[in-house]
């Protein structure tokens, strides 16, 4: 799960492989913006058939948090 999320984020943020770690707070990346948010929500909807409510998303800080949320 975590590897899949990392590869999704690498693609959305156009970051090189290996520059994203599970404990990173993804909002801190300079490439993170509202368009990246939309892309991530859309990709999760596409792959997991789940639209993460905004209030839930706000509580997710790290990539690990996101993976745990999706696993639930």
């Amino acid at each position: 799960m975590i590897d899949k999320i990392i590869s999704i984020l690498e693609e959305i943020l156009e970051r090189n492989h290996g520059t994203i770690n599970p404990e990173d707070e993804f909002r801190e990346y300079p490439e993170w913006d509202s368009l990246a948010y939309l892309s991530l929500i859309a990709k999760i909807d596409e792959d997991y058939h789940l639209i993460i409510p905004r209030e839930d998303f706000q509580k997710i800080r790290t990539i690990e948090d996101l993976a745990n949320y999706l696993e639930k």
Binding site: S34, Y37, L38, S39, I41, A42, D45, I51, R54
Partner: protein, 352 residues
């Protein structure tokens, strides 16, 4: 549940008018860098918009669209029994703009005229209401006008909305028609999201004042006053990808049709990223989804008829097609309609 079904009522003509002046979203300015513009345009698909000058109102665009349509179709204006004007950029807070247009278009005093305050869902809501009125034998023709000058609503220095909106007006003529067959509409609302897209000041909850017209700088660097529109893009996006696919499927199921039975899907032209996502999510082939937002931006309730005039003008001549249209946004409000376009008259796009 607001599901409405009609028989043998249809659209007999459509026209649209846009301002001549084009605004190129890719030209850097003091507020957006070249890189920002490229990244936003890539996502939204909106390259160019039409901007009305200070003396052109939504009603003017509708007036020219209606005038041309009625003239080209050689319509006896005395047979227009209802005029509906749908806009959130009306001429005045009172009276209703539709009534001014009744006189300006020379329609008879026996014509009912009223405004509807709806945005992106307004075309589908308006069509459904027009169809409903046409079920009465005494109503011969309904003239539906959708007009918006949204570039006057939003700040060009707003990171979320500054590059999205365009101005346009459209006229649609609705009447009984044996060729039209069955049609179905689904109308919905969710006021819990009213703050997602709104103009906070200038109404009676927060009247205009020195404070309301002051420009403020926000966390994301956007600059706007409370008299200008705001949009919470991420909440609107979640709403759209949640509700719109469900509504489309509901309408298809109610009419016992599948995606294969639909020739053209007309989405409210809000943002290419959202439309592509919704289409992909429910398996709509993208070659059935025409776009005109690259040329006109988001024109709110005008975007569906403008898309028909802009993109279906050449294929509609002597043709019958089944279309599904869906409008969604401010309110929150959303509506979907499935109907047949049976050789309607489509006027060439007017530039004012």
């Amino acid at each position: 549940m607001a599901i409405l079904k009609y028989s043998n009522i249809g659209i007999s003509g459509i026209s649209a008018a846009v301002p001549k002046e084009k605004y190129n979203n890719l030209v850097p300015n003091d507020f957006f860098t070249e890189e920002e513009l490229k990244s936003i345009v890539k996502k939204t698909g909106i390259k160019e918009r039409r901007v009305a000058s200070s003396n052109i109102c939504a009603s003017d665009l509708c007036y020219f669209a209606a005038k041309q349509l009625l003239k080209e179709m050689v319509i006896d204006i005395n047979t227009i029994d209802v005029l509906i004007f749908i806009s959130q950029t009306a001429d005045y807070r009172m009276p209703a703009t539709s009534i001014i247009l009744q006189d300006r278009l020379g329609l008879p005093k026996t014509c009912a005229a009223f405004d509807i305050n709806l945005g992106c869902s307004g075309y589908v809501y308006g069509l459904s209401l027009a169809f409903s009125l046409c079920t009465h034998n005494t109503i011969r023709k309904v003239l539906l006008l959708n007009g918006e000058t949204r570039t006057k609503v939003y700040s060009f220095k707003d990171k979320s909305t500054g590059l999205l909106f365009g101005d346009a007006g459209a006229a649609t003529l609705i009447e009984r028609n044996k060729e039209a067959g069955e049609s179905i509409f689904s109308l919905n609302s969710d006021g819990s999201g009213y703050q997602f897209i709104m103009i906070p000041a200038g109404g009676y909850r927060y009247p205009s004042s020195h404070e309301s017209v002051k420009e403020k700088v926000f966390d994301d660097g956007s600059i706007r006053s409370d008299e200008q529109g705001i949009m919470d893009g991420s909440s609107v996006f979640s709403f759209a990808i949640q509700e719109v696919p469900q509504d489309i499927i509901k309408v298809l199921n109610e009419s016992c049709k599948t995606i294969n039975d639909i020739d053209i899907f007309l989405f409210h032209q809000c943002n290419k990223f959202i439309i592509d996502h919704i289409a992909k999510k429910i398996g709509i082939p993208l070659d059935k989804v025409p776009y005109s937002l690259d040329k006109f931006g988001n024109t709110s309730s005008v975007s569906i008829p403008l898309n028909i005039v802009s993109e279906l003008y050449n294929i509609m001549y002597n043709n019958k097609i089944t279309i599904l249209m869906t409008g969604f946004g401010v309110g929150l409000s959303w509506a979907t309609g499935l109907l047949k376009l049976s050789n309607p008259y489509i006027s060439e796009l007017i530039e004012i």
